[in-house]
């Protein structure tokens, strides 16, 4: 009984036995980016449905990078995942992105924090144990 509004919830209810899915990783990352956008004062990041087909396809590619990385390396370190993801974004970005090491420390930390949230999300649901 962890929540008075939904007492049936127990963190163990999230446990499962299947590896992560690229599409859902993509949605989760975009959900986190939207939350971040709101935190910094709403810079107008579109919702998923507002993205055009090309942008959605690119985002799915990023989700695919996350899942492949997790499956291949079974990571514990969010920094390495964030660096890998940034490199992937540089590869597919329509505008030039600076290299990971050239980013401002705060920007790097935001990337690391996002990836830590993704890893924690997957860990809670047993996805990292299933790969």
């Amino acid at each position: 009984m962890s929540d008075v509004t939904f007492g049936d919830w127990d963190p163990a209810d999230a446990w499962g036995i299947e590896p992560p899915d690229e599409e859902q990783a993509t949605y989760k990352l975009h959900e986190l980016r939207l939350a971040l956008d709101q935190l910094v004062g709403d810079r107008g990041l579109p919702t998923w449905d507002q993205l055009d087909t090309g942008a959605q396809e690119m985002a799915r590619g990023i989700g695919g990078v996350i899942v492949r990385y997790i499956i291949e390396r079974e990571p514990e370190d969010a920094t390495e995942l964030a660096r890998t993801l940034h490199d992937a974004r540089r590869y597919v970005a329509t505008s030039p992105l600076p290299a990971w090491d050239e980013l401002e420390p705060d920007d790097r930390q935001i990337g690391v924090d996002l990836m830590q949230i993704i890893l924690d999300w997957l860990r809670r649901q047993g996805a990292l144990d299933a790969v």
């Binding site: 009984m1 929540d3 008075v4 509004t5 939904f6 007492g7 049936d8 919830w9 127990d10 963190p11 163990a12 209810d13 999230a14 446990w15 499962g16 036995i17 299947e18 590896p19 992560p20 899915d21 690229e22 599409e23 859902q24 990783a25 949605y27 989760k28 449905d49 999300w121 997957l122 809670r124 649901q125 047993g126 996805a127 299933a130």
Partner: protein, 284 residues
């Protein structure tokens, strides 16, 4: 990494439930836990209650399941207090978690596999004595039988969360169930008895409340045959229709061609039918 996403709204609607989709649960079609859709057709249906406050609206309950909980989506579908159906996630959800294994007619839900091998339904009920109205109970059974039918399961392919894991007590309480069905409780928390739940699913699956529709009269059958002959000539449809059972033109045959047009006076409908056929003919 499953790819099966269930058409929950259609299944619920076909079962006679009122389906609610607002901005709160929009996008349910592709919503899922981190592993995505179901990897295989779910083996059964798990019953829950939300243990929500009695002052909590259905939509607030759904909002928690869709975005309030960091491990959303919690459950695949939620029944509101009046039995309305709120689709939550077409793919696998986070609702049952650690527990099992549990046997079903088509296989065994493995240990900790409830989220990815079962459809999970929540109900906005506090689970400690809030009444389960007859309407809500009817909706729960209608939904359970409909989803299991859709999945190719037996009506008895169900389990309660409490029967799956000792961590839980839902669905409860038995004493709070209103209407003719009176489940026994199986513990001091009032959890519904699983045998009673399965028996009621089976009973309702084999009982039809649909009134018998009278078959056509011989005169109506003759008129329908003439109409069919005429229409096939007008639009060039191939062949002469024969009754699938080899009997006289009867109700199943009529139903297949829209009962509402042939259960009443056919003559008065004839011009309308021909007009529609001509429109189809021109469109093609």
């Amino acid at each position: 990494m499953g790819s099966i996403y269930l058409p929950l709204a259609d299944i619920a609607s076909d079962a006679g439930l009122v389906v609610k989709v607002t901005s709160t649960n929009a996008g349910w079609e592709r919503r899922a836990r981190s592993s995505g859709g179901f990897s295989a057709v779910p083996l059964g249906h798990m019953w829950h209650h939300a243990a929500s406050s009695t002052s909590m609206s259905d939509e607030a309950c759904v909002n928690y399941q869709v975005r309030g909980n960091p491990d959303n989506p919690v459950g695949n579908l939620t029944l509101g207090r009046n039995g309305d159906a709120w689709p939550i996630a077409g793919g696998a959800s986070n609702c049952s978690g650690k527990g099992g294994p549990t046997k079903f007619s088509r296989g065994t839900c493995p240990t900790d596999g409830g989220n990815t091998t079962l459809v999970n339904t929540e109900v906005n009920n506090n689970g400690v004595g809030e009444p389960w109205s007859t309407k809500l109970i009817d909706a729960y059974f209608a939904w359970s039988n409909a989803i299991n039918t859709y999945l190719g399961n037996l009506a008895a392919d169900i389990v309660g969360h409490a029967h799956y894991t000792s961590r839980k007590v839902d669905p409860a309480t038995a004493d709070a169930v209103q209407g003719p069905w009176k489940p026994r409780s199986c513990n001091s928390s009032g959890t519904w008895n699983l045998d009673d739940m399965r028996a009621e699913c089976l009973r309702r699956a084999t009982t039809t409340d649909t009134p018998e529709v009278p078959d056509m009269t011989d005169d109506q059958a003759r008129q329908l045959a003439e109409l069919w002959q005429y229409c096939t000539q007008r639009i060039g449809a191939p062949g002469q229709f024969t009754d699938p059972g080899g009997a006289n033109l009867n109700l199943p045959w009529a139903a297949a061609w829209n009962w509402s047009y042939i259960s009443g006076p056919i003559d008065s409908k004839l011009n309308d039918i021909i007009t529609r056929l001509e429109r189809l003919e021109h469109a093609s």
